[in-house]
Symmetry: C2
C-alpha cells in the first residue's frame, strides 16, 4: 500500500510542531567563520523515543548513556557536540556525558533524565567540559527552520554539506510532519558508523512500535550505506515523537501505521543517501541493487559487499566499467549464487547475462559513469530477495585527507 | 622446538633439486622490454602435491581444474600465465584451462593429468589460446636460479618486485631445500586473493601431511595479509614435493615433521610479507600483532580487522599515530574484549594502557612511523591467543591506479 508523502521544500528537524533547535560555537573545534560545534534539539513536551546504536564493542560512554535512557522510552531533548567523540577516555567519559545532559536540562529547565547526549569527532580525547559549560547557555533554540539548520551544521565534522529533510503525511484528517538531520562523512559503514541521525515527528507514536519501526527502517537505510568499511564508536540514530499535532496514537495495526512507516523510511533513506554521496573525498553516489537473491539477507549481503569494495569504488571513481570487480565482490559476499545465472547492469545497460559478458557499447557506459550517480544492478535469478545499498567512489582526496587527520 | 633453517642468498622456486622453470613473452600482456607472461615450473619426476584455493564463489575454471588434480595427490608441473585471469568466461574457461595443461604436458613430454594451470589478470576476457599455443614451446626450462627468477617475473601483474625465497633444513643427515615464488599486489585479502604462490621442495613428503601442513601454514601467512579487502577468483597456493634429495618420507610424527613445518611456515610468511609490502601503491608494510586474546581465532580476527581498516591504512600512510582508528577496528572485529584491559603499542611505544591513552612523545612515534615498516601491537590482556597480520598503507597512487585499470 502506497501512501502519499509530501516533501517539504526547506524541511529539517524543527519542521515538526513543538520542536526547537539551536547551536553555538563553543570552541571545541578550530575556529573558522560560521563554525558551530554544540547544539540542542528539544521538544516542548516529553516524547516517546527510540534509538539504534553502534554495534562496535568500543562504545562512547555517551552511547551507553543514551541506550539506557532510550530504554526508558521517554526523552525530551538531545545535546550534541562535534569535534571530540568522548570515546576511549576511561571513566571520565560517563561523567562528562552525564554532565552534558545535565547542562542541557538546566538550560532548558527540564528533567535531566529526559536528555540524551551525543558526541562525534576525535577518539581518545576528553571533552573540554569548561568550553561546554560556557557554551550551553549560549544555545538559542528556535522553532523555525533556522534552528534546525543551525543544528544541522553543528553536528558536521568533515561533512561538506548539511543533510536535512522532512515530509508530511496524513492520517485520518490529521497532517503530521517527520523530519531529520544527519552527519556522516568518514568512517561510515553498515551497522552504524560515525554517523549521527536525529529525527522528530509531531505524530503521537506508541513507543514499542516506534522502536520496531525505527530498527526496521534503519536496516534498509543507514545500515545499507558504506563509505570506508569502518564502523565507529558513536553511531546513533534517534527519533523523538511528541504528538503535538494531535490525533490518535499510531501503533502497530492502527490506521496510521503504514503512512508513518513510509514517512520514516523515506526520510531515513534520503538522509542515508546524502551521507553516502558526501563520503570523505567522494564525487559520486553508487547505488547497488541486488535482485533475485534466495533471501533478502543474501541480497543485503551482496549489495553491501559490492558497494563496499575498494576496487569497485576505485573503478567507479575512474568511470571504468570494470565489472569483473563487481563479480568478485558478489562472489565473496556470502550470498548464494550460481555464476551461470547472474545478470549485471551498469546504469541500466546490460553488461553480463547468464554469468558471461555480453557485447556492449563501452563508450556509452563510460559516459553514463561520468555522472554524479551510478547505478549497479545485479540479478541473481534465483529467488525473490532484493535489497539496495549505497556507497561512494574512493578518491585520491580521501587518502590525502585521512593521512593527516590528527597530525 | 626450534629448528635451524638457513636462508639461501638467491633462493627461488628452482633452488630445490630436480625442479626446472622457465618463462617467455607470449603476447598476452602489452609488450614492454623484459616482459614475461607465460611460464612453467616442472619436476624431473612426479611429486606429491598440496594446494589451498580461493574461497570466492566466483572461481576461475583453472582453479576448479587444479582443485580436482590436487585432490588426486600427484602432480609434476604447473603452467602459469599473467595478464588474463580466465574467470567469468563461461564454459570456454574450462576448455582453455585443460588445453593450457595439455600444451605444457606435450612440451614437457609428461602426463597431462599431472599438470596444473594457473592464470592471473583481467576477469571476463577469454584466454588468447593462439598466443599460448605458440608461446608454450618457447618456454626454456632450466634448473638454475635463472629459471626460477624468470618464472617469478612472468607471474607478476602490477607487482613492482618479484617475491622469491628458499631455505634449507636438515633431517637425519639429509639436507633439504624448500623454495617458492609469489605474486600479489591488487585485490589481496585474507582467505586468498589475486595472489599466487608456488613452492617446491626436494624433501620426500607424504601427501596427506603435505596438505595438512600447507593449510595450517597458509592460515598464518597468506591468509593473514590484506591489501584492499577484496578476494579474487584465482588465488592459489600450491606446493610440490619430489623427494629428489632422498631420505625417509616426512610425515606426521616422523623425525622431519617439525623442521619441514618450520621451513614451510617461514617461506610462506616471507612471501606473504613481501606481497603485503608490495601492495598496489603501498609504501609501508604494516605488521599487526594481537596478544592476550581469549582464543587464537579472536586474535586472528582482531589482527586482520586492524590491518584491513582503510582508516588505519590512511593514517599509517601519513605517519599519523591516530590510534583511535585502531581501537575502532578492534571494536568491530568481533574479538571478545574489555575496553579497560586493552594496551596498544605503536613501534613498541606504549600509546594506551587499560583502555586509556597515556602520555607519550608524539614526535618520537611519528618519527618511527616514517620508516618502511610499522608495527602495531595490541594486548587484550584476557587470555593466551595471539596472531599476526600484515597489510600496507593506502596511498593516492592506489586510487589513481585502480581508477584506470581497463579503460
Amino acid at each position: 500500500m502506497s501512501v502519499e508523502l509530501k516533501w517539504l521544500k526547506d524541511g529539517t528537524i524543527t519542521s515538526a510542531k513543538g520542536f526547537l533547535a539551536g547551536a553555538t560555537y563553543s570552541g571545541i573545534r578550530t575556529y573558522t567563520e560560521d563554525k558551530l560545534d554544540l547544539g540542542i534539539i528539544s521538544s516542548e513536551s516529553p516524547c516517546t523515543v527510540a534509538g539504534t546504536f553502534t554495534t562496535n564493542q568500543i562504545k562512547s560512554p555517551s552511547v551507553v548513556l543514551d541506550q539506557r535512557r532510550v530504554a526508558s522510552g521517554r526523552a525530551q531533548a538531545i545535546i550534541i557536540n562535534s569535534g571530540i567523540a568522548n570515546a576511549c577516555v576511561g571513566d571520565q567519559g560517563m561523567t562528562d556525558a552525564l554532565e552534558m545532559a545535565e547542562l542541557a536540562a538546566k538550560h532548558l529547565d527540564i528533567d535531566p533524565e529526559l536528555v540524551l547526549a551525543c558526541s562525534t569527532g576525535l577518539i581518545g580525547v576528553e571533552l573540554p567540559m569548561a568550553l561546554i559549560r560556557s557554551g550551553v547557555p549560549k544555545v538559542q533554540l528556535t522553532a523555525d527552520v533556522n534552528g534546525g539548520h543551525a543544528l544541522g551544521r553543528a553536528i558536521r565534522t568533515t561533512d561538506t554539506i548539511s543533510k536535512e529533510f522532512a515530509v508530511s503525511f496524513d492520517v485520518g484528517g490529521n497532517t503530521y510532519l517527520l523530519g531529520g538531520i544527519a552527519k556522516g562523512s568518514g568512517m561510515v559503514h553498515p551497522n552504524m558508523a560515525t554517523m549521527l541521525a536525529f529525527m522528530t515527528t509531531d505524530a503521537p507514536v506508541e513507543q514499542q512500535f516506534l522502536q520496531e519501526a525505527l530498527s526496521k527502517s534503519v536496516d534498509s537505510s543507514f545500515n545499507m550505506i558504506t563509505v570506508d568499511g569502518d564502523t565507529s564508536t558513536n553511531d546513533s540514530v534517534i527519533i523523538m515523537a511528541n504528538g503535538a499535532a494531535g490525533g490518535d496514537t499510531i501503533t502497530s495495526g492502527s490506521p496510521g501505521e503504514e503512512a508513518f512507516r513510509q514517512a520514516l523510511n523515506e526520510v531515513s533513506i534520503a538522509l542515508a543517501r546524502e551521507i553516502a554521496r558526501d563520503g570523505e573525498g567522494a564525487s559520486k553516489l553508487i547505488q547497488v541493487t541486488v535482485e533475485g537473491a534466495v533471501t533478502e539477507s543474501d541480497a543485503r549481503a551482496a549489495a553491501r559487499a559490492v558497494a563496499a569494495s575498494t576496487l569497485v569504488k576505485s573503478a567507479v571513481h575512474g568511470g571504468d566499467p570494470n565489472w569483473g570487480r563487481i563479480m568478485v565482490a558478489l562472489g565473496y559476499s556470502g550470498a548464494e549464487l550460481e555464476e551461470s545465472h547472474v545478470a549485471l547492469y551498469i546504469s541500466d545497460v546490460c553488461i553480463m547475462e547468464e554469468g558471461r559478458p555480453i557485447p556492449y557499447f563501452k563508450d556509452a557506459v563510460v559516459l553514463t559513469m561520468s555522472g554524479p550517480e551510478i547505478s549497479l544492478r545485479l540479478n541473481l535469478n534465483l529467488g525473490d530477495g532484493s535489497a539496495t545499498a549505497w556507497g561512494c567512489d574512493i578518491s585520491e582526496e580521501y587518502v590525502t585527507f585521512n593521512s593527516a587527520y590528527t597530525t
